[in-house]
Symmetry: C2
Subunit: 377 residues, 2 copies
Amino acid sequence: MANLNTKNLLRAVSLSAMMTVVACSPGGKTANPDGGTRPSEEAHTPATTMAETSDELILQARDFMEPIPMDAPAIEGVTSTPELVELGQALFFDPRLSATHSISCASCHYPGLGGADNSPFSAGFHGERGGRNAPTVYNAVFNFVQFWDGRAKDLVEQAGGPLVNPVEMASPQAHVTEQILALPGYSPMFAKAFPGETDPVSLENAQKAIAGFEATLITPNAPFDQFLRGDTNALTADQKAGLTLFIDTGCLTCHSGVNLGGTMYQKFGVFSDPGPVYLPPEDKGRGGVTGNAAEDYFFKVPTLRNIVETAPYFHSGSEPDLKRAVAVMAEVQLGQTLTPEEVDQITAFLGSLTGDQPELVIPQLPISDAKSPPPEK
Amino acid sequence: MANLNTKNLLRAVSLSAMMTVVACSPGGKTANPDGGTRPSEEAHTPATTMAETSDELILQARDFMEPIPMDAPAIEGVTSTPELVELGQALFFDPRLSATHSISCASCHYPGLGGADNSPFSAGFHGERGGRNAPTVYNAVFNFVQFWDGRAKDLVEQAGGPLVNPVEMASPQAHVTEQILALPGYSPMFAKAFPGETDPVSLENAQKAIAGFEATLITPNAPFDQFLRGDTNALTADQKAGLTLFIDTGCLTCHSGVNLGGTMYQKFGVFSDPGPVYLPPEDKGRGGVTGNAAEDYFFKVPTLRNIVETAPYFHSGSEPDLKRAVAVMAEVQLGQTLTPEEVDQITAFLGSLTGDQPELVIPQLPISDAKSPPPEK
């Protein structure tokens, strides 16, 4: 019955060892704060046996993956209330937080495009483009760290990044609070979102509110979630075959947990070099943050949730075709060449990861008045 | 009783004569296709007498202005159906119709910011800025022509402009349909929106769908509309005083009809030169379109609907303060210096023009796939 052959088993152990190193790296935290299974501990247990029935497949999948909960999870340090979420939503959609008043969080993390923007690199300040693909905001709350290189420990910290990044929203740090204070409609919203604070309008509170709103952007109820919860008919035969391959080939070694990703860093190119198009040599990923050469080209394993919505793929946004992305991953991460049929089946399984997209009403934003500073030219 | 004094009467007649010229100008159409009162015909009737009661004020206002209807009006040549509006909404919010895939119609005509963007000039392709303030999309369907200079006869024609304008969305004309065709999710939407057409995906149909959606972006039920419909308590005492001044001073000579504007062209600077900040000499407005020097510095009279939401003001976006804009208008258009109290009252009245803002759910857009062309760098 055991179909995790010796080669696969060795690979799993080897991956496990690498992950342990990463989990202990400076700035690292436990790989899976949301309570999901840690593949670094589980990968060398004999859990990976070929399932013969859908019920067995469900049990096997549950060892590694979890459904998205129906309710937004809490964020440490943020007291989520409807008022805080409302404020966060307004800030998330407000282009006046950027230097040019033309780019909001939603510009690159667009709720109508899978929470991302379908561009290799997003266009920021004056059309300049960053060097990494915008990750989806959907389910980002379940990632163990934020940004491809994990340089933000949570959504609160993350929210402050693009605001001041010179090729993104490009606001001088002071501009953000000045701008918010100059839009009189925001002050009462901050007061309600942060009751009891004497000086509630601050960049820190803006970040908390944005994070609190983002935590609501989850996509539960995907066919795969229904399957995990026991509905054996929620996946097609092709999707079940794809899930079996996803488990057996070893994809789930890294793409595990609630997000099928977002629980660890992993090197891009474990078995072979993906080449400079997929892996531009100048972007060292996690190593660029820690200065630890052992972590060069390690990136946060991205979520596979809603993956069909968020082409192009990889941190380099260099692969527009999901099937090719699957084949490349198997090749360079797992040392396996998949047949076209296997690629099709895994891709079919990935299609089962699209959940209910949040239904968001465009917020009416506080209006600019005579005292509001104009945009930078 | 007659309080339209000789000076005002002469002014009204003189304005009326000018408007008649404009109404007959090349490319002009009847000044008020929506059936509202034509001030060019009415201004020299003795309608403008000081109202002594709210009921009289209502009757007087009704001679010149109309409430926004509760339902979206029809557009010539567009068969509005829920499917067409749904398609139009998706296209309106889709940044991939721009060369950089980062600017949609909604970027500059943002539903959360009064249907505009609170910027003097909008940031377009690579942050370049156009030379005129983005007019609100709200109630634009009631304007007799589109753009500040009337170069589009209706919303269908207008929708094609920014898509290909090199400093706005900057798409080569062919890009728009190529892009739409390359997003497979759009084809069935076009087929449903244009039933019976063998080749429904076209730029022309995209423009029709966008226009059909925009026609739904109306803001009925403002306090002023309630007042016009007979609710004498819908306006405050200050707003009633402001409305009386608005009528008596002559503002309504041009700001009339459903939109309190949008029924005619008018010269900016009838009585005196507004100066180069408000009226940059290089922008000749309607004259730039027709080549007729008599129309230099004529612009479409903008709507005053939701005006407190849409700072900064004038085609040049050069006045962030609504009160100063009111004072400047009285000065240069009507030759009158208003007292601060009069400015406050007229501004209070303008505050009664904010109607119900459309509640729009962010549309889920057709997804990009391996064959969808990437953005221009």
